[in-house]
């Protein structure tokens, strides 16, 4: 029957498209995995050394991992408290009309491409840091952390505020009829209720910060060595900035290229973990 064939044909066409979309992350993962095979087999544990010196057969990526870790922790330790208290102020103390204006400003800021944050960092943040700390160059791990904090702040405030304002008003009324004032309501009601959502938001911000390339690459200084001074006020390198700066310089099929692919694979791990944690079909922005 022709109409039956038409039905089946439609189903197969739609199914094929669906298969293409759903298999894309798997294809990306497999291509990266296959291409980084050399790094794992030929360098092996040598990946976990602190020196990156391809001419001397040393392919340690610890310096980049350390840079990423420092930058992300710095950004989170600045942005999380700031975002938490700002979101509380927005949802509890600010009238609704004002809140909408501020939230749309935050949305604008969250939509600015990262390369523009990079320009801001290079032109304004780094010279400012040079003056404040009296150092020769502002392009440091610290600058990367500050810039990342600025980049994830609007998104975090906006999402946290959504969580707080979705808590029904009856809860607040009950709390106040029990004699709790506003700050007690905040610490003993609102924060405990939104703990798990808040945790997810912090994870999301963390994976955003970890994968951020252009802005970090411009302000981090791009020096492939383990910072010999424990303070983050020295130039460094993150996994993303190393990839962005140097991937184009190495030839295909060389070991250093393969190691770089392995670093890109490492960047995928938090994304995949996050996909497992957040698999309930929530709308994505």
């Amino acid at each position: 029957m022709p109409s039956c064939r038409k039905e089946l044909g439609l189903k197969y066409v739609l199914g094929l498209s669906f298969f293409v979309v759903a298999s894309m992350p798997i294809i990306i993962f497999l291509v990266l995995l296959i291409q980084s095979k050399r790094a794992f087999f030929e360098v092996g544990w040598g990946l976990f050394s602190t020196t990156w010196f391809p001419a001397g057969q040393e392919y340690g990526i610890l310096a980049m991992l350390y840079g990423s870790l420092v930058v992300v922790l710095l950004a989170l330790s600045i942005a999380v408290p700031l975002a938490l208290f700002s979101a509380l102020a927005l949802s509890e103390f600010i009238p609704k009309s004002c809140r909408l204006v501020i939230k749309s400003l935050l949305e604008i800021l969250a939509g600015i491409p990262s390369i523009i944050y990079g320009l801001l960092g290079v032109v304004i943040l780094c010279p400012w840091l040079e003056q404040v700390f009296d150092i020769s160059t502002g392009r440091t791990l610290f600058a990367g952390g500050l810039l990342l904090a600025l980049m994830i702040l609007p998104m975090m405030i906006s999402l946290l505020e959504d969580v707080f304002s979705q808590i029904p008003n009856e809860y607040r009324d009950n709390a106040s009829s029990l004699g709790l004032n506003k700050s007690q309501t905040i610490t003993s009601l609102l924060i405990p209720i939104s703990k798990s959502h808040g945790f997810n938001i912090v994870l999301l911000a963390m994976s955003k910060a970890l994968g951020e390339t252009m802005a970090v690459m411009l302000v981090i200084g791009c020096v492939d060595q383990f910072p010999n001074f424990w303070l983050p006020l020295s130039a460094g390198q993150t996994v993303t900035s190393k990839l962005g700066r140097d991937l184009g310089n190495y030839s295909f099929y060389s070991i250093e290229f393969s190691v770089m692919i392995a670093m890109a694979l490492i960047l995928l791990i938090p994304t995949i973990l996050f996909g497992f944690i957040l698999r309930n079909g929530r709308d994505i922005k």
Binding site: F18, V21, M24, L88, F93, L109, I112, L120, M214, A264
Partner: protein, 279 residues
Amino acid sequence: MNKVYHYIICFLCWLALAISLVLVLGVITILVVKGIGAINVSFITQPATNFGKEGGVLYQIIGSLLMVSVAFLLSFPIAIAAALYKSEYLKDEKWQHRSDMLLHILNGIPSIVFGVFALLFFINICGAYISWWLGSLILAIMMLPILTFSSYFYLQRLSPEIRESCLALGLTKGQFIRSFLLKRSFAGAVSGSFLGLARILGETAPIMWVATIFAGAGIPSSWNEPVATLATHILILAQQANHPLAVANGWGASLILISLVFILAAIGFAMRRKQLQVQ
């Protein structure tokens, strides 16, 4: 004691809000003021010269728009079809969860990883030349999850009465999809695609190795030609940050890019709000 505690919490909230607002307004003011100072008619209508330090950004605007529009054309039909399949044929709960997860993962992959993948897959494995359509292709892949989800959620909001009455009229599933659902998934994907376009318009990392060159790009006359985009242009200018002319042009290009992103996002949000009101 309670009172002191109360004041401390209130003080912290207001302080944090004040700091955040100063940062937000500061960033917006800097971008707008410095950007307007650099933009004039010739900045938009002239090509760039001397590595962007002189001239305008005409070719960069054209390159950006060309690349994202082709990306949109590539990813739109696939996303609609995938959303229709996910909503109408994929009834297994387990596979629904798995596909949700895969789409979330695809949406969360850092943009630099897309760049690495594009370089590996297109240039190294497939042997393609650096050209603008590779950029469109990788950006289309980046857009897929946003479009698919947006189309899928709009399909899910369809009231069961409509579905039942269509089937009661004797339509087969295929006829129902072709005559009714296709239009609806289209509408859902359009609002999502504006948001997706707003996101990919500012991307630099995925395209900088496979689709763009840093100087001398014009309007492409064939498939196999690299272009320059606004985002990669800002990257070049930011790398010459000690040169005042480069910085000024960087602010100008940034403001143009932000305006384009903002217009696309505003259309997308307005359309989505309208769709949320209609059943």
